[in-house]
Amino acid sequence: MGKRALIAVTAFSAIVWIILFWIVPLPVIILTVIAWIVLLIFNKELGAKILFIASASAAVIAVGLICVFLFAQGIPAMLDIGVLNFLTGTDWRPTWNPPLYGILPMIAGSLYVTAGAILFGVPVGIFAAVFMAKFCPRRIHKVLKPAINLLAGIPSVVYGYFGMVVLVPFVRENFGGNGNSILTASMLLGMMILPTIITISEHAIRAVPPEIYDGAVALGASHESATFKAVLPAAKSGVTASVILGIGRAVGETMAVRMVAGNQAVMRMPHEFLSGTRTLTSNVVIELGYAYGDHRAALIATGVVLFAFILLINTMFMRIRGRK
């Protein structure tokens, strides 16, 4: 399937829906529904099949709408500000006259907290996944599996709140600074991506054919060596996919980061990991509520940049997962 076909279908369905919502008057929609019901009465099989196909296209339509509306509002704003000014400007001063809209500090902030989350979350996540798949007694597994599902289900505001009242004071007292920092956000994000990495990696490790483990043991390897030197490399693509998905979670996480990261829209260097930063996501969530005009457009453009990052990460995820 070509990329062109995908774009064509998405654009087409988006247009159809815009027309549906906007131009087509209600009577026409009602008539369509009546026509469908008549069809259903005379030919149940065909009518139902049409309903099922229409439902299946809903996801396509939704993605089309999201792309069209975000890009249609974000890209003109970006061109207005100047793409280079927008992406590489180090000053975000929406209230100045003339206002400055540079999101490099936010791009850097997103990268820092994500890198930090990888540092904290990925090693622990992968080792924990290996444990779950290869070392865990069945009785412990029965307890741990739902626990990890629960970890994935805890709302991000609860994580954020936990970060605010526990991690922020902890970092302030042990590392200095005021606690709302890149480090705090990284620690919190590292916790939040654990379940994603563990679940998918465990699945990948379990999917490795048993012959690989058996072969290694037959050649004299211990349980640990066989697991880490034969089985884990065989599960490489699945484990990598889980890490990429975790990165996607970390880049897209909003509430928790916004509550612990300090949110200063100032360009930081990596060694300033004890000072606050603002990510792309928190930039939108902090200012969208009261922004209007150009400022709102600049925020939507921020969303577009974030969306582009996410699409890139998703594509990588699907590539790697498809490879196995």
């Binding site: 995908l6 509306f69 709302p155 936990f162 897209g252 969208l288």
Partner: protein
């Protein structure tokens, strides 16, 4: 397991210890988060927290609770039929590997990966501004239903696939048509799996904040009609945490939110286990 530890090679010992340490760290994160929130929150839960009217004194979470129920109900009404029908198409009707199926799968995975703030932004632009629904139950429910669509589709697909082919063959053999087979034979046997997915989706909606505050809004009252604004429990939690003026109520709200999520998770796995029985 531990007895043999000192007979292992040094590298093996490191691997062994690292795995144990990692899983203990993971479990510790869970216990610490859940324990901290519950221990600090439960003592602050009081009847005033469930007063019908929100005032600055009581910081009642009741309107937010009702708002949550409304959003959950409305978005399930929108997303469940759509998700189940599209999964039926993908599993029962579509030809394997057809172009349309590939596109649907690709877009579903894309939807699953979009962060909630982007949904919030989109809902705000499209439902709020473009369609003129403003901050309302309708904008919120539509936005959230797009968000949970991939989850419902995936779980329904999984449970439809787990229905053995002999059921289909038996039904066709007795002369039933495709639609009758799907509706009366396959769907009922796939029901527990679908239900488990729906319950997971409810959990996802309850935990959602970023997409809610720009579509439903964050006003502490119950919505009066479909085009009225309100807030959900997690949006309420966010507001309380940010204001920082009512730490007791914030602790209590976090505990209530967490308890709801734990209950929903337990319910979902209970229902999912039912499928294997």
């Amino acid at each position: 397991m531990f007895k043999k530890f000192f007979r292992k090679k040094p590298t093996d010992r490191i691997f062994f210890l690292a795995s144990w340490a990692s899983i203990i760290a993971t479990a510790a994160v869970l216990f610490f988060v859940v324990g901290y929130v519950l221990i600090n929150g439960l003592p602050h839960i009081s009847p005033a927290l469930f007063a019908v009217q929100f005032t600055t004194e009581n910081q009642s979470l009741f309107p937010a609770l009702i708002g949550t129920l409304m959003i959950v109900g409305l978005s399930l009404v929108l997303a469940v039929p759509l998700g189940v029908c599209s999964a039926i198409y993908l599993v029962e009707y579509a030809k394997r590997g057809s172009r349309f199926v590939k596109i649907v799968r690709l877009t579903t995975e894309t939807l699953a990966g979009i962060p909630s703030i982007v949904y919030g932004l989109f809902g705000f632009i499209f439902f709020g501004v473009f369609l003129g629904w403003g901050l309302s139950l309708m904008s919120g429910a539509f936005t959230v239903s797009i968000m949970i669509l991939p989850l419902i589709m995936r779980t329904t697909e999984e449970s439809l696939k787990s229905v053995p082919d002999t059921y289909r063959e038996g039904s066709f053999g007795l002369g039933a048509g495709k639609l009758r087979t799907v509706m009366l034979i396959i769907l009922p046997s796939a029901m527990p799996g679908i239900l488990a997915g729906v319950i997971l989706a409810v959990g996802r909606i309850i935990g959602e904040t970023a997409a809610i505050i720009f579509t439903l809004g964050n006003v502490a009252r119950m919505p009066n009609n479909l085009f009225d604004t309100g807030r959900t429990l997690s949006a309420h939690m966010y507001a309380l945490a940010n204001e920082g003026t009512h730490p007791g109520e914030a602790h209590a709200t976090a505990a209530v939110l967490l308890i709801v999520v734990i209950l929903i998770n337990a319910l979902s796995s209970r229902v999912a286990r039912f499928i294997k029985a």
